[in-house]
Symmetry: C2
Subunit: 529 residues, 2 copies
């Protein structure tokens, strides 16, 4: 309670003492059917009764408060009473769900200061090294959606320039603690992870059933595609449900030794999911951030033995062995620090793995390998066996060097296929059909010769334009890989789609530049297409 | 025209050849009453007929295209047909105005690649130095609203760490060319600029009439407050219109030798306005960005002689003489390069200038000084005379060293006041009243002693909470400055407001911590309040 001398200055009325309670002027919440993704968005009327919206501008940040709930949001203004009236507060869908209060709740709206941890980001911008408590505070604020996109960008860019090993460890630890922490009853929990960038590279869906069939525990969580035509979660979803709860995931692992679920649903390292949402559109890919991102998730997932796949190639994330070496050391350093036995292998990242690009087409490749079909893609088969062998070597009961033979035995005997069918059944039926796109067009070679280069980024764009990953059946089926001979007019690959408009755009894009370089005797430097 | 082999794979229907034109599927535009500020925002239905909105996520970027118009926007999704139907495209107000096409226009929507110049930003993040063409491209994309907030943040943060002198010159030049270019008929165009941060520092409104009364041309453009309780444009608006067109501004200058208008309306250095919109919420204040920001506007404004005011104080933007020296050198270096004669003075930035904080209260101070009232604030008077003297020295016709005496003569004779009245009349009547807030409360000293420190940031927050700058009459009137004696219970300052809720919050805030430090004989270290 505060007593102040309150006078009506200028009017000559007597000063008098009044009691002032700092009151909050509240608005009645309503829901606005707008999907604003990661950002919390609130809308108020420009003639709001409870506050003077002129003190805000579009995209300024406000603090919403109701009982014990607090949420930071980005504010938009409207003059349309049917959208948000003068005594109302509109909440776009993500903000509404995160605030988790019923429609009609009275909510106060005040200008929000920046999250306190942004001072540390500013210090980092000035070149200072951050302490663990600074980084903990940043991750805490990130996890609670207190950072706007521009604030997230400021943190990422300030850290992309340099990050000390202490900062890297602190960031990894803080992110790993921010969400779900999985615990398992086995001593050895194996896991594998590829840094991505190679289309069709669905080795996890072969490695997991092999390793699980052997008897090791491999609770695999995977991501969905963000900028690529398919993530492992998208492809697995062609065969089984992947959005399992933590409890359901544990049941599957208890029954099958392994699983193939979508990590996003399990909420491992939610801060990382938020950072990735800004890293990707900005195409930031600092090694330190990649290591912190991957290892924070593996720590949260309870992995004890981790195999990292680093593809190297001209269009891959890593373009040279020396770059891969630096990244390998970083993985080993952080993995060792947190007691995860981390093994890093480099693989051929010059071209797609397998023939299919897009969820249903990739699922066909995977099932062909597991079923030991004679025409199953050899590169996917061999790479999967190699990775599975590394993981099987972690079994103390297996004789040193026997991993590859054991992996092969499990695959060829059909044990891996049966294990995969068991996992699929345990995860439950998918709402999606496995059918591949019925609109198809073959993209022909423009000249005779030998395929010398395949542009993974170009193929990704064609497959996405055709509708992948959301259209499960859309994508590309490759007929020629590097080193293959092709005659002019013979198809390099086939585009699959369901929707005519996307089909047309994808085909036009592929015709314009198919993403293949062909070395002919009359074109020693190679010809595009 | 592209011919492709189109088969209905899997259904057994005959393949046939069809003609495909890459068509665009267009949506009918409508307007959405949402003020999204700087960001272009578009809304589509999750069941959009023309494209598969699943390929987008909330806050992804899209390219809108209609005839020759192109606009990049941030996309939101809705399920509410009354907001945006399946065959419609909603444009929030700023996007609608920038797109400048009537409602009902058919617009294509495609996923937008990042602006091309973002590659240069990524290179800068990696530590590379940018060339002038890189910076030109960045400024071009910024000016055309092609950068999202997070992309702007990435550019600012990557440049905040280091910026070479070549980059600084290129950025200043590119920004100065991006908007309106003012040309004047005089050889000497004087201007002054303060880097800001000091409440009540309204010297421009005294310096301009003095210098204009002398006969020099001083076409002053000022900014509105973003994070402070008043900018010069907000305070001048208490007395006259400030949102003049370029043509109207030129007429005022032709008639009066000077003006005091809002720079935002004249569109000088629009890229800078966009950068500032992200710098402020992130509280970035790299010297290089400050110099590029200020000098790009002065170049665009056609200034030939510029006086820069650098206040130094514990709560000011500059806290030491050595920091001010570095910034001075930077202003001189860039000013010289572009042929602007730049003079930099350092001033006392330990406390507010004048007594008023907030537009109407500051306007009272200004008019008291111009009217030679005996109780007019001496610090505002003396600082204005000093700055005016520096500018008057630029007149070849004036004898060296005579500037101060001439400034004083113009003020004391009433010539400056008459010039100000002429400028006010020329700029036209304001819609605002000059009345100060009628709700008032005095904030008392908690102890006897001498005021040793005044926290400018705290006073700014109290004045803003009271309603400044949008409530012109809200703010603070100071009764005690540094060095003044005060007895316990005597008022340090008075809070003014119109709206009870804001008044209460501001008073509670001031009571909680008035922002004064008082040195008493029993409190040699000083007592807050």
């Amino acid at each position: 309670m505060i007593w102040v001398n309150m006078t009506h200055g200028g009017t000559g009325i007597l000063p008098h003492m009044i009691e002032i309670k700092p009151t909050r002027h509240e608005l009645k919440s309503r829901r606005i059917n707008l999907d604003t993704g990661r950002e919390n968005v609130a809308v108020i009327s420009r003639r709001s009764t409870a506050l003077r919206p002129e003190v805000f501008r579009g995209f300024s940040r406000v603090e919403l408060r109701s009982n014990s709930k607090v949420l930071l949001a980005t504010l938009l203004l409207t003059d349309d009473d049917s959208l948000v009236g003068p005594n109302e507060l509109g909440l776009a869908e993500p903000a509404f769900h995160r605030f988790a209060e019923p429609v009609g709740t009275y909510v106060s709206v005040t200008p929000a200061p920046s999250p306190a941890s942004l001072d540390a980001v500013r210090a980092k911008i000035q070149g200072r090294t951050l302490g663990a408590s600074d980084i903990d505070a940043i991750v805490e604020d990130l996890t609670h959606f207190r950072y706007s996109d521009m604030e997230i960008a400021a943190f990422l860019v300030s850290s992309a320039g340099f990050m000390t090993s202490g900062e890297l460890l602190a960031l990894t630890r803080a992110m790993s603690k921010a969400g779900t922490q999985l615990k398992w009853n086995a001593n050895v929990i194996v896991d594998k992870h590829c840094i991505g960038g190679i289309p069709g590279n669905r080795t996890s869906m072969i490695v997991v059933p092999i390793v699980a069939a052997h008897g090791l525990t491999i609770p695999k969580t995977s991501s969905r595609a963000i900028t690529s035509p398919a993530g492992t979660a998208d492809t697995m979803e062609v065969l089984a449900r992947v959005d399992l709860s933590v409890e359901a995931m544990k049941e599957v692992v208890a029954a099958c030794n392994g699983c193939l679920v979508w990590g996003g649903h399990v909420n491992l390292s939610p801060a990382d999911d938020i950072l990735i949402g800004v890293e990707r559109p900005l195409s930031l890919d600092a090694h330190e951030q990649m290591v912190a991102s991957i290892l924070s998730k593996k720590l949260a997932a309870g992995s004890t033995h981790l195999l990292i796949d680093l593809p190297i190639g001209p269009n891959a994330k890593l373009t040279s062995a020396s770059e891969a070496m630096r990244l390998r050391k970083l993985f080993e350093f952080v993995g060792d620090h947190f007691g995860i036995e981390t093994e890093v292998v480099t693989t051929d990242g010059r071209q797609p793995i397998g023939c299919g690009i897009g969820p249903a087409l990739e699922a066909q490749d995977v099932m062909a390998v597991l079923a030991n079909e004679p025409l199953a893609p050899r590169d996917l088969l061999e790479k999967s066996l190699r990775l599975a062998a590394h993981l099987l070597e972690r079994d103390p009961a297996l004789r040193g060097g026997a991993g590859y033979a054991r992996a092969r035995e499990l695959l060829e005997s059909g044990a891996a296929l049966r294990q995969m069918q068991k996992i699929i059944e345990a995860q439950g039926p998918t709402p999606y059909r496995a059918e591949v796109g019925t609109l198809t067009a073959d993209i022909p070679a423009a000249v005779d010769g030998v395929v010398s280069t395949i542009d993974c980024l170009r193929l990704n764009r064609v497959a996405r334009t055709a509708g992948a990953p959301l259209d499960k059946g859309a994508g590309i089926k490759l007929f020629r890989k590097i080193g293959d001979r092709v005659d002019q007019g013979e198809p390099l690959y086939r585009v699959h789609a369901f929707e005519p408009s996307q089909f047309e755009l994808a085909v036009a894009m592929a015709q314009n530049d198919p993403g293949y370089l062909i070395d002919g005797h009359d074109s020693p430097g190679g010809v595009r297409a």
